[in-house]
Amino acid sequence: MPEVQNIDFKDPATQAASAVEELQDMQGEKMVLNMGPSHPATHGVLRIVLELDGELITKAVPDVGYLHRGDEKIAENMTYTQFIPYTDRLDYLAPLANNVAYALAVEKALGIEKDLPPRCQYIRVICCELARISSHLLGLGAFGLDLGAVTVFLLTFTEREKIYNLCESLTGARFTTSYTRIGGVSRDTPPGWCDAVRTFLNEVVVNIAEMETLLTRNRIWVDRTRDVGVIPRDVAIDYGLSGPNLRGSGVDYDLRKAQPYLCYPDLQFDVPLGAVGDCYDRYLVRMEEMRQSVRILHQCLDKIPGGFDNQSKEPVNVADGKIVLPSKEKVMSSMEELIHQFILVTQGMNVPPGEIYFGHENPKGELGFYINSRGGGTPYRMKIRSPSFVNLSILSHLLPGHMMSDVTAILGSLDFVMGECDR
């Protein structure tokens, strides 16, 4: 067997960083560049103060909080149901997934997450995966736009428009869906909706394939993303990254597999992993996750209890009058339902004292809710663990050593939303 040679290969980032150290004495004055908060590549209101040596970044200080609205304080002052619309505004590119995450967290606190009707679980999974496709499409479109691939942006937004139309016919709103309720969903799927989802799935795979032909082997794209922004496996774990950013670094951790919730154990899908952890890997992971979401959605449509138009009248809410609002006819005709309606609207459901944490695999990563209840209808404290906030904390470690032009590639590949980061 030939002797294995240890090739001391350094990726461009490491080379640049070592060059900075070698040329320490020859360096001139450093320049401080303020990037953001209103900069097209920061996707919102992120501000980064960069210290530059020529084109090379020597120090990066991210500054967040420009979109801080105090959601955690607001949550302490209202009932659990009243907070649902605020979850739309966390990751506003995937509001359906946020609704599901929040509802599941409160249901875990109530201890009813196992009682959810199967049809409700399938509808929620369909919502989550549609949101995942929508969020990844926007993430990739904006990523491409930042690196000069304008066509991809136009393609993805055509597809997103179809998802918004589906959202509109399901929830009544395109953007701020507020679809879930604690213990169920606000309404069943409208007639013909499942067929429309199926049609959409058949169209989106064609467009994903077309995007792939535009980017994956594109020389400019590969040059700008490969070996840029490398996050090694242990660093990704140390910084608490989650979602595609964690899996892009090769860590096999997906909450849908690791801590299965809803009907995910019944569904078959693969978790794509990156090999190096650079921007290109994160791009590939997102691309493959969209295909896996399409796969999940097809299975959900095949298996959904009650069929497309719910001929067998499967319930979509838990049968507990102390948690879910009764139907309007019942309220008008029956005393017990009238009392339930009155108590639910004025006081909310009674969550027993205790504390829970529920993490949900959102498109951006792990969206977690820590709910501390002291009984009654309002949380004593609710902490939102937002994936974008944690993912961005790596910037001050990741950016130094890269060129100024790599910042847009790295930011695009991390795929964050400031509404969620700042809460």
Binding site: G70, N77, M78, G354, Y357, G368, T378, S393
Partner: protein, 206 residues
């Protein structure tokens, strides 16, 4: 029918988290409370918050809790000690989670940082300092993160009003109290009439 998690697997999850909690208790003795379970989650509480970094170090090095999910904080207004800091630990290899809590008194409002154990703790601790005013000793860069530098209050404290307080830093930033006429509709359950149940502003007592 629809089996969500295999029952054995669920059992396995809880037991390993409980075993880890017991191992921490064996190592640190009276410092650690008896592990408490709620909804399948295991919580341990530290008697002395000064040891939090040691416990976390042990959990990471010896018990493979390599992933810090989150740090949150609680304001137990009107109780002593006033603050509780809550750590969510996860082991990616074993897939089990553990919650570690530590009480901090109001006059001290300080505990050691865990940034040396997980670097992700950096921003979480900055956020707690910003929102609650609890300081982390040894933190490399303890600045405000969501509010701006120089903001005088800690907004997540229970005695900070929902409407906010007016502040003024000339030529930098300002806040005014928010108008609450149209909401948010504050709800305080248990009152005897609608006025008590739905006050415009919630006080720490209600």
């Amino acid at each position: 029918m629809f089996i969500r998690v295999h029952p054995w697997f669920q059992f396995f999850l809880i037991v390993t988290a409980l075993e880890f909690a017991q191992q921490i208790k064996t190592k640190f003795g009276d410092l650690i409370s008896e592990p408490a379970g709620f909804r399948g989650e295991i919580t341990i509480k530290l008697a002395n918050a000064e040891r939090i970094a040691d416990v976390c170090e042990f959990a990471r090095k010896e018990l493979s809790f390599d992933y810090l999910v989150d740090i949150s904080s609680l304001d137990n207004y009107g109780e002593d000690p006033r603050w509780t800091v809550v750590y969510h630990l996860r082991s990616l290899a074993n897939g089990c989670e553990l919650r570690v809590k530590a009480d901090v008194g109001e006059e001290k409002s300080e505990l050691p940082t865990v940034t040396g154990v997980w670097r992700t703790a950096d921003w979480h601790e900055r956020e707690i300092y910003d929102m609650m005013g609890i300081r982390f000793r040894g933190h490399p860069d303890l600045r405000r993160i969501l509010m701006w530098e120089g903001y005088p209050y800690f907004p997540l404290r229970k005695d900070f009003p929902l409407a906010g307080k007016p502040t003024q830093i000339p030529e930098v930033a300002f806040t005014q109290a928010a108008p609450l006429e149209g909401g948010p509709f504050v709800t305080a359950p248990g009152g005897k009439d609608a006025i008590e149940r739905e006050p415009r502003v919630r006080t720490p007592e209600s």
